[in-house]
């Protein structure tokens, strides 16, 4: 054996060129362009856990598109007193039920881990304005915090 190096790092641009070629050839699927908050959540190791996650729609969905209603437990948020979490889940579940009755609820989840993002609802809205109205009706902000709405594409 010669002892010559068996590995040489190529120009980093090669990786990008190759990925583009492979995507164009249909051999690799491009990473989804998730909203920034999803990447941040993933980086922070946030996982979906039980809670309002158990909610599932019971009614046929109305026409429109999906939106994510994001619940931020920021510095203004007042956590539930010990042992009272279930009451808040119940309040949010009733709100979800009211949306579900008109075909505007898809699913919900609680987000745990570092960072202020505490939960999300996926709702069905006819357009951005409708999504904003739905978000404004969410009882979450009675405990402080704030809500953001994003278009959600599967």
């Amino acid at each position: 054996m010669t002892g010559l190096p068996r590995e040489t790092q190529p120009d980093p641009a090669l990786e990008e060129r190759l990925v583009s070629t492979l995507v164009a050839a249909g051999l690799v699927r491009r990473r989804r362009a998730w909203p920034v908050w999803v990447a941040a959540a993933a980086a922070a190791g946030i996982v979906l856990t039980a809670g309002v996650t158990m909610l599932r729609p019971k009614h046929r969905l109305a026409p429109g598109r999906s939106y994510a209603v994001l619940l931020f437990e920021d510095a203004t948020y007042r956590p539930a007193p010990a042992g009272h979490d279930a009451e808040r889940v119940a309040v949010l579940s009733r709100w979800a039920d009211s949306l579900d009755a008109v075909g505007k609820f898809e699913r919900a989840g609680r987000l745990t881990g570092p960072g202020p993002l505490g939960g999300l609802f996926i709702v069905r809205a006819t357009d951005d304005a409708d999504a904003a109205r739905i978000a404004a009706s969410c009882p979450f902000t009675q405990w402080g915090g704030h809500i953001e709405v994003k278009r959600f594409d599967e």
């Binding site: 190529p10 090669l14 060129r17 492979l22 051999l27």
Partner: protein
Amino acid sequence: MTDDLALVERFLRGRGEDAFRALYRAHTPALYALALRLTGGDQGEAEDLVQESWVRALTALHSFRAESALRSWLCGVLVNVRRGRLRAEWRIVDAPEVEPLAKGDGPDDAIDLERAIATLPEGARDVYVLHDVHGYTHREIAELLGIVEGTSKSQLNRARSLLRSALP
């Protein structure tokens, strides 16, 4: 080995970009080193070879067998892509006449050797690089290049002899 298999399975599940990048980063430095030597140090051609090899490899990845090392399999793809190109260009793979090798003038033995390898005739260079640099056996080389083991051995001897006379 197990890691490679896990990477391959992860990629084949969804052909996702991230899974591919993990495969790429694990094995491209070896592929590129091999490509550079097979092309006599031509960086542009070596990058083209690596790129085409990955395209071929991903097309055929489902046929990869776990009992062989992924790196060897990928290097085999690259060697065959290279040989296919040579045939397409109507170039002679085994140069019948051996050109005299230029004497290296660098202070570093490794640089001298790399330079001398680049001047070897194609057939002898392929075998030398695969055997003496990348550690393939004659049997593996014979399979990769579609030659008999005896040819691999004689090409290796030829390459070594040329290198001995070329190196200071």
